[in-house]
Symmetry: C2
Subunit: 336 residues, 2 copies
């Protein structure tokens, strides 16, 4: 195997086949992927079909707590699971820059394999393109995924309603602040780590136990919790009230945000979800979430009321109120 | 709407929402996509699930006969349909370079919308990332797709068997030669056009009419017919015999290949398929293919025998025999 990616690795010929055999199948092998057909075919499934896609262009590609590979696996699993889906498979499409180190590519593929194993969701089909040096930045990854949603489940923004309790599954802003500080080469705190992780164990646990009581779920990635809540407020034309003091945040993340002048409400999360639940079951749901590792720090952070319609109102630490708008005019590129 | 793509359009905030509303939903709107959820949810379907993914990095992005947008729609539809699937939906993920002209993006989105309408396959979910200027080349597109395969259908390379007749649905090398000449700025012949088109009307017609008689299908894209046939010969450990004189090719494509010293067997096709069929039904299948516009030029180009095992043998125009190897050492990057 060559040490660096060549244009020939993307030509669909012998070099592509070698790359697939010596790297991708070596780490990702499973009976469906091994067929290497134009499309993967899976047995029939009962239920609604969920489909999601995300491209990952994060910079840097290796960061504290993870890398672009596991981020791509977990991110698409999480998008599926926010609709109540049980993820069943992923596709994996790579765009590689000519000259990218094969050793780095192998680390990323190993990490993808590990994340897939942990989540129990296989890569069943893939694609690799190579562009000339300078026409991409190292590696971009697209993962798309299919999930199955039980026929009785309808989890969507428009299901959120007045009185709903809002739960957050854990601490805020870990991924965003980690990427931004590591991109700038800042060594603010050795303990800043991305929170990239799959959420389907957590979400399936509460959906199964509290069917009908989970109305809406979202993972606040790009744009952060502030933008996510703004979207739901707009979709429902209701008012989302949250308490700043109730939002779990690690002390080192809070300190780094203050140092860099960043609002954690707009920083990306890659292993957290916000859940809108029926008030009469909220405490039980919180208890169940906390019993699962990825929901250990879950908290109730607010509720839905009626007015002001379509807005998010934050009660600040000092007891004041402020409107939370969607992220605007402050681009935070390549965070995922 | 701005005239050029800004980093902010990929931040997941207000600018992203504006881009989605003013461009993507404007052209691609449908009830599922309009929900703008993290994942799309579709009603249950009966049958096996097919999934496929492809990233498109073609250079140039606009070329005679098409552009990167419709190529991305048709290409993934075709990958699904080669397994006998009826495509039901697509995902669409864009990686945009900062500074890319919004007018060009809109042309591409319109073209995607048109291709989806023509094929009857909607985009149900999407993603947009923006990378800084110089970190990508204008636009890269990933489409992934889901299709449904009837339970009785099993079309795959390993189903090809001794005695099978090999049909090609139309003329060879149109897409590859068009991209290469238009990239080089050569005006060899005004009639060179990409063959990008969806193949599911053609494939569904023959699968429905001749169930069990269609053993294997492939669309010879990157790597061309030569590489595709080599892969099938290797998978089956059988011998694929083809006749050079039987392969349909447009005169202008043949001339351009000769002028540029390129072997049409290795050039990409984006609207052709090769079909391995039971010999007793081959003439009827050919007749049915020719009755459909995209199969008008279909021809029988060869058959499967036993030896030399795992090889492709071409009978040349002059009556000689030569082995066809997979594409190697002659990179033809960014052809799709």
């Amino acid at each position: 195997m060559e040490k660096f990616i060549l244009l020939d690795h993307g030509s669909g010929g012998l070099a592509s086949q070698n790359l697939i055999g010596s790297l991708f199948l070596k780490h990702l092998k499973n009976p469906v992927l091994n067929q290497l057909e134009d499309a993967a075919v899976l047995p029939p499934e009962q239920g609604q079909l969920a489909i999601s896609t995300d491209s990952y262009v994060v910079d840097p590609i290796f960061f504290p707590g993870g890398n672009i590979g596991e981020l791509a696996v977990n991110g698409t699993i999480n998008d599926l699971t926010m609709r109540g889906a049980r993820p069943i498979c992923l596709s994996l499409a790579l765009i590689l820059e000519e000259g990218f180190a094969v050793e780095e590519l192998e680390k990323i593929i190993q990490s993808i394999a590990h994340a897939c194993d942990y989540a129990g969701v296989p890569v069943v089909t893939g694609d690799t393109k190579v562009v000339p040096k300078g026409k991409a930045d190292k590696i971009f990854i697209n993962t798309s995924g299919i999930g199955i949603v039980a026929d009785s489940i309808n989890i969507t923004a428009s299901e959120a309603r007045t009185g709903d309790i809002i739960l957050l599954s854990g601490t805020l802003a870990d991924h965003g602040i980690t990427i931004l500080t590591s991109r700038e080469g800042l060594q603010i705190d050795a303990d800043l780590l991305s929170d990239t992780r799959p959420l389907h164990f957590l979400t399936q646990a509460i959906i199964t136990k509290f069917p009908g009581a989970i109305h809406t779920m979202r993972d606040p990635t790009r744009g952060g919790l502030g933008t996510t809540l703004s979207e739901i407020a707009k979709t429902t034309s209701l008012c989302i009230e949250i308490e700043e003091t109730a939002i779990p945040m690690r002390a080192e993340v809070r300190a780094a945000c203050e140092l860099m002048g960043l609002d954690p409400l707009y920083l990306a999360n890659e292993g957290k979800c916000v859940v809108f639940a029926a008030p009469e079951r909220a405490e039980e749901i919180l208890h169940r979430m906390r019993s699962i590792p990825e929901g250990r720090d879950a908290a109730i952070i607010g509720r839905i009321s009626e007015k002001p319609a379509g807005r998010v109102v934050l009660t600040t630490v000092s007891g004041g109120k402020r409107l939370v708008e969607p992220l605007s005019g402050e681009p935070l590129p390549r965070i995922c």
